[in-house]
């Protein structure tokens, strides 16, 4: 029955991926229609990474995210409506409208925040891992970083610190091929990031970021290592994005002719996972269609809520600079 099947972990992963996909495709449309303020960086195409990694985490584990953070937040269990309100800058947003797309955080869900600075969140994740270690919990912390952010000193330093402090942290590089409009063939010299982890003693693997089960299994191994006191790991996940760096600004002229079409037709992680679920009998098409309908309704309701939500009270301008006395 659907009730029992819907709890199958790989169908839960499907739901997460579908939610991210619909959320991002809808935001793309809403942004184009002029309904979304600010800078919005969409995650569509990379869903397998967030969904696969977070499927290997417990509720109280931590993730530190990037500017392209909607997928991580959804996969970590953040409320989709509260996220949509936040992206619209509305009261009732997960950060009261004071963070926006690039600063979605929900500490109750272990979501330490998207981040406006490339690799800015990586040291924070190492710190959350230190916190878990000192407090004596078995929590694990994940640091997501893009291929561009992987060139930052903060990332290299965090690898070293996590190794020598033996922190329960998993570095997840999301190599989507581009740092804004600059390709990895140039900015990584066409190389993987994984050897940089190995160079400082952090076990590192290259992972097919279009295959959510491969990501989940690699993450599970890294998380188990972290939880059992084995210290940090690095996953170098490869999956290109469907959209440009940023909505509105990026017409993607730097991408090859037909590149995005081929990506969508041949390397759609959601289609790949769907085919596998159907082929191995884990799910039936009607069941997935039911998930799709629920997700569509969820995201539609979130957009409707965001459109009608009130703006923040002007007094909010001056609150939360410091803790209230």
């Amino acid at each position: 029955m659907p009730q029992r099947d819907s709890t199958h972990p790989e169908i839960r992963i499907y739901r997460t991926m579908r939610t991210i996909r619909v959320f991002e495709e809808r935001l793309h449309a809403e942004f184009a229609a002029g309904g979304v303020p600010g800078a919005v960086h969409l995650y569509a195409g990379q869903e397998a990474i967030a969904a696969g990694v977070c499927a290997a985490l417990a509720d109280d584990d931590y993730v530190a995210s990037t500017h392209r953070g909607h997928g991580h937040a959804i996969a970590k269990g953040c409320d989709v409506t509260a996220m949509m309100l936040e992206i619209h800058g509305k009261a009732g947003g997960v950060c009261g409208g004071k963070g926006g797309s690039m600063h979605i955080a929900d500490f109750d869900r272990g979501m330490l925040g998207a981040n406006g600075v490339a690799a800015g969140g990586v040291p924070l994740s190492a710190g959350a891992a230190l916190s878990a270690k000192v407090r004596g919990t078995d929590q694990v912390s994940v640091a997501f970083v893009g291929d561009g952010g992987a060139n930052q000193g903060a990332f290299a330093e965090s690898l070293v610190l996590a190794r020598v402090w033996n922190l329960p942290v998993v570095f997840v590089v999301e190599d989507n091929g581009y740092a804004q409009a600059t390709g990895t063939r140039f900015h990584l010299d066409g190389r993987d990031v994984a050897p940089r982890g190995e160079a400082v003693g952090v076990p590192s693997v290259v992972v097919d970021g279009y295959d959510v089960i491969a990501v989940r299994d690699a993450a599970a191994e890294a998380v188990a290592r972290a939880r059992s006191g084995g210290g940090p790991s690095l996953l170098d996940c490869k999956a290109h994005r469907f959209f440009g760096h940023m909505e509105g600004w990026d017409q993607q002229g730097y991408r090859g002719a037909g590149e995005v079409d081929r990506l969508r037709s041949e390397h759609d992680c959601l289609a790949i996972h769907t085919r596998r679920l159907l082929a191995d009998g884990t799910a039936g098409s009607a069941e997935l269609a039911a998930v799709d309908a629920e997700v569509a309704e969820l995201v539609d309701a979130a957009v409707t809520a965001a459109r009608s939500a009130p703006d923040p009270d002007p007094a909010e301008l001056l609150t939360d600079v410091y803790a209230a006395v």
Binding site: Y62, A64, G93, C95, G96, G97, K98, G99, H103, A105, D106, F107, D108, L112, G113, N115, G116, V117, G120, G121, V122, P123, L124, S125, A126, G127, A128, A129, L130, S131, A132, V134, R135, S141, G153, A154, E157, S158, V160, L161, V164, W165, E316, T319, D320, V321, Y322, A323, A324
Partner: protein, 339 residues
Amino acid sequence: MTRVLTYLQAIGEALAQQMGLDPTVVVFGEDNIGGTGCDGTLGHAWGPTQGLHERFPDRVFDTPITEAAFVGAAVGAAATGLRPVADLLFVDFAGVAFDQVLNQAAKLRYMAAGRAGAPLVLRAMWGAGLRRGAQHSQALYPVFAHIPGLKVVLPSSPADAKGLMAAAIQDPDPVVFFEHKMLYFSRGEVPEEPYVTPLGQAAVVRPGTDCTIVALGRMVQVAQEAAAELAGTGVECEIVDPRTISPLDTETIYASVRRTGHLVVVDEANPRCGAASDIAGLVAQHAFDALRGPVRTVTAPHAPTPFSPVLEDAYAPSAGQVVAAVRATVPYAEQERAS
């Protein structure tokens, strides 16, 4: 009960006492233990963390030279239940970790609408006088005080250093704690028991009637020398030590200016967009009616800190410059009285 301690010992005592009171306080930085990874003995810290690892072996850590990572780790640890005290060594090294201070620590609470915070202390040695040259001698507190979300502490005495460190550790927000390297071996009475000196409360360290001198950090000593000299010529200065420049206790400054009618601000930082010009500007906006002469500031020049002892000694404000500044503003009152 009080004893005489050095400024350095007072900070160390605050760290030890707060670690004893709160098991979430952790301390780390380069050589905060000293000797990790070596064949000899542990315990070769330079500074206030000396010996802490013996009492708290699970909560004091050496770090690799990774300021961006370990300052950021302090933010992440603070946001998830610890109270880290991270050590930059020289404040000049903040440059390599500034994103973590400016964009992460300072803004976390605001961006999360108050649902998260970063209760950390960033220790930072500062100031001219030790012949360390331009990259180890700066007075960078105005840079930090400019950033909403940070608190900036600047103790001038051993007793304040202890109480302010305790307050900084207990504070729910990120605090940058400036330790003047030339004050480390200054001595003063320090109560033995734990206590807190609240952030945002200035101290009137010398009462006077003729001119207010607001002095920051080591400049409190310089102002004391100047005030003693001026007292010999019948000019009584009131010295206000803000102790923290963010938050800044403006009311104590305004109240003093209302008593004296004159203001000289003495600040070791560079002059442009600095602490002295900020305090002068605030007084001009909020206590202009009380002023009976022009506000004077005495600061380091708009130049890096030089190495040569002769040049460095001419860099930070001297008592002579403070005396001259006071004499340049107080005569306006005498002229007023005479007319």
